[in-house]
């Protein structure tokens, strides 16, 4: 808890609050921010990669079959992917809490 909220002893700080663990922001579950989530209909998906390249939060990555599944840990539910999908394969549905 202390590490996430930055509450540390001054003795633990490195020079000028240097951060030496690259990319540790990935610990934060920005997925908690959303109220809608994108769902992909694989029947319609043409594996074009638009959702992948248009996602500001790197939610999509290519799997072994060439599809782009979501990593919901990070998805903020902005809906860009659904809007940009050229074959309307992605729908935004209400997040069930």
């Amino acid at each position: 808890m202390a590490k996430e909220t930055g509450i540390q002893s001054w003795k633990d700080l490195k020079f000028g609050i240097l951060i030496t663990t690259p990319g540790n922001a990935a610990e934060l579950k920005t997925g908690d921010w959303r109220s809608m989530r994108p769902e992909t209909d694989r029947e319609k998906c043409t594996k074009c990669g638009q959702c992948y390249i248009f996602c500001p939060d790197m939610v999509y990555s290519k799997d072994a079959e060439g599809y782009f599944p979501q990593n919901y840990y990070y998805c903020k539910g902005c809906g860009i992917c659904a809007k940009e999908c050229p074959v309307d394969a992605i729908t935004m549905i209400q997040e069930v809490d």
């Binding site: 990319g23 922001a25 610990e27 934060l28 920005t30 990669g49 996602c55 790197m58 990593n71 902005c78």
Partner: protein, 322 residues
């Protein structure tokens, strides 16, 4: 032949089937939902890769990626102040040049990047940028242009477009939003003689990534002006950022082009330009504009576009064959 054309002779770009996989910026950053600027940053860094040193100005991209104790940066990154990203990068580039030459290190291929928002570039950072371009450091400068000082609350910059309502150029009874035309930073970079200058937007990701890759191959300073949609500041839907950026290109508001050794190349011909009202429609920051104002803007956008076209070389697939 200039130094940029030389360097780009055998350039092989990315395409939809062949996109860079690396993610130098990690998820978990604190950008707003639908932030077009962090998307632009992500795409640009994917094209750069991990052998880079990044110098950031103060602004959205800095705040959202470096909340101590967390960082979204998987490459070395330094933030110093608001107006000096270009100067910090100049120092880092000079350091590596010197240390490599003296044999203190053996890292000759590192890419040096400086970036800032439109405020940090066109306003407070103009001087540092000008100095870096003039001195010819081997670096790339990205301006992530979301057309206002978004991080501090949507205040106007010299890159805010004419007529846009911001918190320091608000539309009111006696004012119609920004009263000056957007400063043309790409032209300023060209005037400095930078061998590679380009405009880009994340709505055209392959175009953006290829331009970034080209910039990294060209020796000397490169400048890329990246139109970055901000739903929060432009007051459009959080899913509409890419569409608005696409409309900016399709209405000629933000033409995509490159200037290679001073030669202009249009990246995307806008054969059937859409009317500017299409561009204004999704954005509440333009809602107050009168018909006269819209006409003025349309005329000026058309005129600026014509000026640009006149400078562009005719596309020469035919010429090459001759």
């Amino acid at each position: 032949m200039g130094i940029a054309s030389d360097a780009l002779k055998n350039f092989k770009g990315f395409n939809l089937k062949n996109m860079p996989e690396v993610e130098p910026v990690s998820p978990g950053h604190r950008a707003c939902q639908g932030c077009g600027e962090v998307l632009a940053l992500r795409q640009a860094m994917k094209a750069i890769g991990t052998n880079a040193v990044v110098c950031s100005a103060t602004g959205c991209m800095e705040i959202i990626t470096s909340p101590y104790p967390q960082t979204a940066w998987r490459v070395p990154w330094i933030h110093v102040a608001f107006e000096n990203a270009a100067a910090v990068a100049s120092g880092a580039e000079a350091a590596y040049k010197s240390m490599n030459r003296k044999g203190i290190i053996n890292q000759p291929d590192v890419t040096f990047i400086a970036y800032g928002g439109d405020g940090a570039t066109a306003d407070i950072g103009m001087q540092a940028l000008s100095g870096a371009l003039e001195r010819g450091h081997n670096m790339i400068y990205f301006c992530f242009d979301n057309e206002a000082y978004m991080n501090t609350g949507i205040q106007r910059s010299s890159s805010t477009p004419f007529g846009a309502s911001t918190t320091t150029s608000p539309a009111g009874k006696k004012s119609s939003g920004q009263s000056t035309w957007k400063k043309n930073m790409a032209e300023i970079a060209v005037a400095h003689g930078a061998p590679y200058v380009a405009t880009a937007t994340p709505a055209y990701p392959i175009d953006l990534m290829n331009k970034v890759k080209k910039a990294s191959l060209v020796p000397g300073p490169a400048y890329i002006h990246i139109y970055s949609p901000c739903p929060t500041g432009w007051r459009c839907g959080i899913d509409e950022g890419i569409e608005v950026a696409r409309l900016a290109v399709q209405t000629k508001v933000f033409p995509l082009y490159e200037v290679i050794d001073g030669e202009y190349h249009l990246s995307r011909k806008v054969a059937k330009p859409k009317p500017i009202t299409d561009y204004f429609k999704p954005q509440r920051r333009f809602r107050h504009l009168t018909e006269t104002e819209v006409k003025y803007i349309q005329d000026r956008v058309d005129a600026e576009y014509e000026k640009l076209i006149k400078k562009c070389v005719v596309e020469e697939k035919k010429k090459e064959k001759e």
